[in-house]
């Protein structure tokens, strides 16, 4: 959690790659859950592909409704996120750092060609 938040405060979305077995870990953690090897922090590839999405109408009060969420594949990282516009499965999206629900966090938007 610490590594992810530190990356976000510098404008970067970080994932972890195990130095020993190559397993991709998101959010990045200190230890690889597959082989207990050391995890290296890497920046998540900028552009990913939406594999599923939803428009949320009932929420906690922190997020004005309705809003969009998705899970997208960025290289070998599969990442859940807030999306600033409607998307469909197969759409290309990019991550960026912004305000989400009152926090500095990452979100997705359609990739600019």
């Amino acid at each position: 959690m610490k590594a992810l938040l530190a990356g976000i405060s510098q404008g970067r979305l970080l994932g972890g790659v195990c130095k020993r077995c190559g397993h991709h870990v998101f959010p990045p953690r200190e230890m690889c859950p597959k082989c207990f090897g050391e995890v290296e922090l890497v920046e998540v590839p900028k552009v990913g592909e939406v594999i599923t999405y939803s428009e949320v109408h009932v929420s906690t009060g922190r997020f004005p409704t309705p809003y969009f969420v998705a899970i997208a594949k960025f290289g070998r990282f599969q990442i859940p996120g807030y999306v600033v516009e409607p998307v469909e499965i197969g759409d290309k999206v990019e991550w960026f750092i912004t305000n989400v629900g009152g926090r500095t966090w990452y979100a997705f938007r359609k990739a600019r060609p």
């Binding site: 959010p27 999405y53 939803s54 428009e55 109408h57 906690t60 969420v69 859940p80 807030y82 629900g101």
Partner: protein
């Protein structure tokens, strides 16, 4: 280890209740006392999801105090909505190991005192922080799974609504259900969106309720209604659905069911009654597959064919399920076992299916903790 038996159960009426969980515990216990002498209980395990609703922890002690069981062993267990079946598993293990002769499992949740936004927030704590910070509520998680399932296998929103229609129909004959009202596919399709493609009528309600069950050794079970507990199994998966290779596959439920089938030495085709975790309609479809009632990717065909109604190939959620019986989170796993107790002892009235083997599937998070029990006459 030794054989263990379910010898009694009880449940409060489920719904929006004015009483606090303290009164509801007594309501459920009074029914249980028709079957079991409370003074015989050696240990108490209580499943509760959240301290948010009543600003209360220490439910184990609370229940022991209310039921006159102090200073006996009593504590709370938690895995979100799987808390109830986990409390039951604690009771099973205590008796199996010989630590207790008779153990009481209690499931409690009093949710309706707080608003929907607060409930959504309390439940969201069951997901990973990356989901929570991104606004991915628990219904939204199931929505992400449902959307992907529709894309991969060609299921439709109508298919999911069929599950809700069935469970509401079953609950018509359950006087303790939260809803005793039939619904149609059209009503379901037209109901308000919660997180697309999930709508209000795909979703279990916010309920209050308590359910209880007692596990006993063979010796202690003498002279009681005796249902054999053939299997008790738990498995886990990632907190965040996003970290699963196939978003549509409930690995924890599959793994727990496989373990349970091995313990019970039975095949899925022998099961005639299943009480399963339809927190959202998509999940009942996924559970058909994870239990081996349908092939992977074909669960929706089972409900299309009506095979999971009372009278079908396997009766699923004869109580009305989470959808219509109601879903007081920590109580749900024990509400399922209560229904199985009624069914296997021929006390389920009009909804009785004359089953001899039954399975209960309770899960927490988004299929992150799965608890499976198998029972037989």
């Amino acid at each position: 280890m030794r054989d263990v038996y379910l010898i009694g159960a009880g449940m409060s009426k489920i719904g929006k209740r004015e009483e606090t969980s303290r009164e509801l515990v007594i309501e459920a216990a009074k029914e249980l006392m028709n079957y079991v002498d409370l003074k015989s209980v050696d240990a108490v395990y209580v499943g509760v999801q959240s301290e948010t609703y009543e600003h209360q922890i220490m439910y184990g002690t609370m229940v022991a105090e209310i039921l006159g069981l102090t200073p006996k062993e009593a504590y709370r267990v938690e895995a979100c909505a799987a808390a109830g079946a986990l409390a039951f598993r604690n009771a099973v293990l205590a008796v199996k190991s010989g630590e207790a002769e008779v153990a009481l499992a209690v499931g409690v949740e009093k949710m309706s005192a707080v608003g929907t936004e607060n409930v959504t927030d309390a439940l969201m704590a069951a997901s990973d922080f990356i989901d929570q910070y991104s606004g991915i509520t628990i219904p939204a998680h199931y929505a992400l799974v449902a959307r992907r399932y529709m894309y991969q296998y060609g299921a439709t929103e109508e298919d999911f609504c069929l599950v809700a229609v069935k469970n509401h129909k079953h609950a018509l004959d359950n006087p303790k259900a939260h809803f005793q009202r039939a619904i149609t596919v059209e009503e379901c399709l037209r109901s308000k969106p919660v997180a697309t493609p999930i709508k209000l009528l795909d979703s279990a309600p916010i309920s209050d309720g308590v359910a209880v069950a007692v596990v006993a050794s063979r010796e202690a079970a003498k002279g009681h209604d005796k249902i054999r507990i053939l299997a008790s199994a738990v498995a886990t998966d990632t907190l965040s659905v996003s970290q699963r290779e196939d978003l549509t596959w409930p690995t924890a439920i599959w793994e727990a069911a496989q373990k349970a089938y091995r313990q019970a030495k039975i095949e899925p085709s022998q099961i005639k009654l299943a009480e399963v975790h339809d927190a959202f309609t998509i999940n009942e479809v996924l559970i058909y597959e994870a239990l081996g009632f349908a092939k992977r990717g074909e669960g929706y065909k089972l409900i299309r064919e009506g095979q999971t109604y009372i009278g079908g190939k396997v009766a699923v959620n004869t109580s009305g399920g989470l959808k219509a019986r109601g879903h007081p989170i920590g109580a749900t796993g024990l509400a399922q076992i209560y229904e199985i107790f009624l069914q296997l002892t021929n006390r389920a009235g009009k909804r009785n299916v004359n089953a001899d083997i039954a399975i209960a599937v309770n899960e927490g998070g988004v299929n992150s903790t799965a608890v499976v029990h198998i029972f037989s006459l």
